[in-house]
Symmetry: C2
Subunit: 347 residues, 2 copies
DNA sequence: ATTAGCACTCAAACAAAACGAGTGCTAACA
DNA sequence: TGTTAGCACTCGTTTTGTTTGAGTGCTAAT
């Protein structure tokens, strides 16, 4: 059976209406709602076809129709046309953002929060993360008689502080020498470079201060891991409770726990990053999501760029019946803003 | 009317039973449950008295009795005797903890999480925070040609990294001198000490490198603020959903939002810190809590000590019908453990 | 002072009935 | 041949009524 233009229009009308009301939509509604001027009976025939084709379904015999996952998919792929309004709202967002940018972390938390309160969905944002991170700089210093501090800076300006118990007090001169030694070897090194051999060589050259290096190595490795780790900030998670179509609370609360845990989100975002297409927008409808707990939800993700090629992701999680148009355009605008902020604000 | 011994016993029986079952408890149950050997009729009379005194209440005419806030209060103050069992469980916790201690922050998150999964209530933990924090150590260094890094360590080993754009490249010697200057002035300084005068004096002495100091000052102030800020970690917040007695979801979800926001929690914990008694345990039942959204919940908080006199708080939030005995003893044990860990592990 | 007994209350559980939105199908129509 | 009016039918939802039973307060007997 062919999906002709009329069927398309009807399907679109059904989905649009359902997105608004959340109620199954009947033939009579469509008959009046659209400008097709068709009677409800005709619509009914078409609806029967659409159901056969798998785009809509009846929750029970005498109810209206509701879109299936396939229906939503067709909608977001073909039927939904972009909505470029509401740019003002985003402008505001931008200002709110720029004001508070002091640390990347704080800023991303803000992004998640603002987005959540704007859309009324749950949101998540990841910090941009790198691969094969290299050490930029290491600084060892004596804080007090018993304490030494190693500061490690890696690509992406992730900074790791490693506080160590000092076994002996070093003179400034000795520290200087150690610092030179450390930086000679470690600058530009990635995790793969820091092997046992390198460590041995360095410890030999350090002589009686070899002990201090232990802590440094440990710190460097931790720093790299931290930089490569996918840190996720969430907000508005409780918005999920607002969609009663998700049925029983127990499932929803499981989902909330998953959010708190954040591990499953990593999975989802990794997937999104890998599948990324030209627009940077990814939509998961129901079962399409790699996270099985989300089979009754939809997820929309967008990728933003940090200057050095590092990428981060923003995601919105809501009911399948979400305002895809708005969400997509909001995300597009937001990622553009972020790209802009990051490219100008080279720190 | 007097609260004689028999009434006490009956009240205790009612509350104990209610804590277990969550159902209103009737006279017949008590008649069999206790070893008082009284008929249900007698119990009924006593219950009528207890109701008049305000310790219990009937949800509706033909139902059993349920404790009021006053009833719970009497229970936790007088009727409940400590339960010193289940120490093994906590021992485990301690081991799990010690293994993972690498950063204070991580550790406290762990504490919150473990506590939540042990008790099935929502938990919160604050990092110990200081007042009048002093600068311990500042280290300025050149990361690359365009970037300088100021590392600021303040009391409590809170470390702040301030990355700055470098306007000119400095020699090692110049940096050394600047570091000496900075530390001469700033070491041991608290927020109050760092005034315009001090800043001017320092900038004069720094000569053409005065610009660099701007960033340092800023970093120092941020570091102190960060150290004094009350950071709160929560876990198991979704456990709140498991207690249907809280009635409608809308209220519960408001509460969850409050948790996400964390501001209200600050209020609560501040209150707990100020009211603290000799045991360090505080119990808020329903309306006693300063947070109005929590009127259907109880909160138990405990204070722990960090070596230098800095204090942090652990809190458990659950339904009024919570296992107070277990919660209190768990918290006591846990704070003792923490005190221990912190006092031995002087870093 | 305690208890047995009894009439009474009321939420909860269950059952039956009424409702109504929406369907599929058929037959008539343009 | 596509469209539409009409109608019988389905089935979830809502309403209304009925039963049940846990629990009470009161009274009178012990």
């Amino acid at each position: 059976m062919e999906l002709d233009d009329r069927k398309r229009k009807i399907l679109q009308a059904i989905i649009t209406n359902y997105l608004e009301t959340g109620e199954p939509v009947g033939s009579r509604t469509i008959s009046k709602y659209t400008d097709l001027n068709l009677s409800s009976a005709t619509i009914r025939n078409e609806m029967a076809d659409l159901e056969e084709m798998g785009y809509i379904i009846q929750p029970h015999t005498s109810a209206g129709r509701v879109p299936t996952d396939a229906g939503y998919r067709l909608y977001v792929d073909q039927l939904m046309l972009e909505k470029d309004s509401e740019v003002e709202e985003i402008k505001e967002t931008r200002n709110a953002l720029i004001e508070r940018v002091d640390r990347l972390e704080e800023m991303l938390k803000q992004v998640a929060k603002i987005l959540a309160s704007n859309t009324n969905y749950a949101t998540m944002v990841t910090a941009p993360h790198y691969q094969n991170t290299k050490v930029k700089f290491v600084q060892l210093s004596q804080v007090s008689e018993e304490q030494m501090l190693a500061v490690i800076v890696v690509e992406g300006n992730v900074i790791k502080n490693k506080m160590m118990r000092a076994e002996q007090t070093l003179t400034n001169d000795e520290i200087l020498k150690l610092n030179i030694l450390i930086n000679t070897f470690l600058q530009g090194a990635s995790l793969a470079d820091i092997n046992l051999e390198m460590m041995h060589t360095m410890q030999q050259q350090a002589g009686k201060y070899a002990g201090v290096l232990e802590g440094v190595f440990q710190g460097v490795i931790e720093a790299i891991h931290e930089a490569e780790e996918l840190e996720i900030y969430t907000s508005g998670t409780t918005n999920i409770l607002k969609y009663p179509e998700l049925g029983d609370i127990s499932k929803t609360s499981e989902l909330l726990e998953a959010f708190e845990e954040k591990k499953v989100l990593t999975e989802l975002l990794d997937d999104a990053m890998s599948k990324e297409d030209n627009t940077g927008i990814q939509i998961y409808i129901g079962d399409e999501s790699p996270v099985k707990d989300m089979k009754d939800l939809s997820v929309v993700t967008a990728t933003y760029q940090l200057q050095e090629g590092a990428k981060g992701t923003i995601g919105i999680i809501g009911p399948k019946r979400m305002d895809y148009k708005k969400v997509v355009s909001t995300l597009k605008n937001l990622t553009e803003e972020l790209d802009l902020i990051f490219s100008t604000k080279k720190e």
